[in-house]
Symmetry: C2
Subunit: 250 residues, 2 copies
């Protein structure tokens, strides 16, 4: 835990180093085997859960700050973060409730706008590590969140909306599924995020017609009578779609 | 034009009144008869075009500030604004270039993050009015923009991306078309924004199957042999779709 002295030092030097009244909060979604989770950390001084977040340096580009904060707080690296919203409608009173006594009346307690970034990772592959102030980190099911500090519940809801809309306009799955996957596996990924059942015939047809996935001509031997075909992403089309966008009607 | 004295007064009192380092800029798209335009104002001190924008009061909700700024700057009222991005990656040097000499070395010249809001209106129905600093306002075709101040060109491009993605997830047209319209009229609206041709049979079918538009059983008499059917929005379904979202595959 950050000592009182360290905290006072941060308050003193931070006033010059950081943008005042502006933070970044990261909603890191994790997918694994039909489960969608979100990364929460325990805020030590406040005894509650919240999102990893931090301040932006006065000379730092916003997107660089987001990557740095995520890495510093959780040790997660190379995660593609996407900005989704800036939260400036939370009544100031609500923000004040969750403020630690040590920072009352400092710049840390001034009204703050929070810029939300989100990402989607394979949660069995990453091990977030705590920093001084926040941790340990835990993956929580998006449908079973504990009470959250600040307006972080609202942030997760909004991030989830964006993640879902993104699904119709950007390919996903690379880095979340094995290199070769079955059709039920990729369908489960989409179904888990959208929380709705998709047609088992039409869904792969649409991905195929967009050129996103292709048949590997291999099968996976599961049992004597079950050997589903294996598919893989067409990386070239996938990258073009990431860059230019798609329209996927599910 | 704001006098030097007024400007100095604003600089002095504004430091206490406004959030420092944070502005709102509004990208107001205007549609009329197959034309898509954007509202630009002439920045008097800088002799260049830019978007209407302003500062957020320290005690003001973000969404309230956006409405207030648009109204103060352009006298536009009751425009539904939607936040789309916060710009914090513009190198600080680029921002500095466009700063008026009178505000150099004041809080107005500090590094600023700009929160982008956009809207879509029927441009023949609105008459924006200038304020002290910016004006007159003019509608410029999105494909024929003059050189713009600051990073406003990038903002318009990004806003246009969001407007287009929105089209697949939210109904539009109400307040942009007459109460009763022909199928070519609503198709033109979508085609103008998307800058692509849509199938003249499938497009209305999709709107109908989502319950967004309905046949009025009336026709418009254009000539002896031309009397296209008139349609109207199903306001109940339209509002539900606005609230809950749709998936429109075009």
């Amino acid at each position: 835990m950050k000592t009182e002295k360290e905290l006072q030092e941060f308050i003193k030097s931070g006033r010059k180093e950081y943008m005042i009244g502006l933070t970044i909060d990261c909603v890191i979604f994790g997918y694994h085997d039909q489960q969608l989770k979100v990364l929460l950390g325990c805020y030590k001084g406040l005894n509650g859960f919240g999102l990893p977040g931090g301040y932006i340096k006065k000379t730092e580009l916003l997107s660089v700050a987001a990557q740095r904060i995520l890495k510093e707080k959780t040790s997660l690296d190379n995660v593609y973060l996407e900005q989704f919203y800036i939260f400036g409608d939370t009544p100031f009173r609500k923000q004040k409730i969750d403020i630690h006594p040590s920072i009352a009346n400092t710049w840390l307690a001034e009204r703050t706008f929070a810029i939300g970034y989100f990402a989607l990772v394979e949660f069995s592959k990453v091990t977030p590590e705590p920093d001084f102030l926040v941790g340990p980190y835990e993956w929580h099911d998006v449908n079973g969140l504990p009470p959250l500090l600040f307006d972080h519940k609202e942030m997760i809801t909004k991030a989830l909306d964006h993640l879902r809309i993104n699904l119709y306009h950007k390919p996903i799955g690379y880095n979340l599924l094995e290199r070769k996957f079955t059709l039920p596996e990729i369908r489960s990924l989409y179904e888990t995020i959208l929380e709705k059942e998709l047609d088992r015939r039409n869904f792969p047809k649409k991905l195929m017609s967009l050129g996103l996935i292709k048949d590997t001509n291999e099968v996976r031997k599961i049992g004597q009578h079950r050997s589903p075909k294996l598919y893989t992403f067409d990386k070239k089309n996938y990258n073009t779609a990431l860059r230019e966008g798609i329209v996927l009607a599910l």
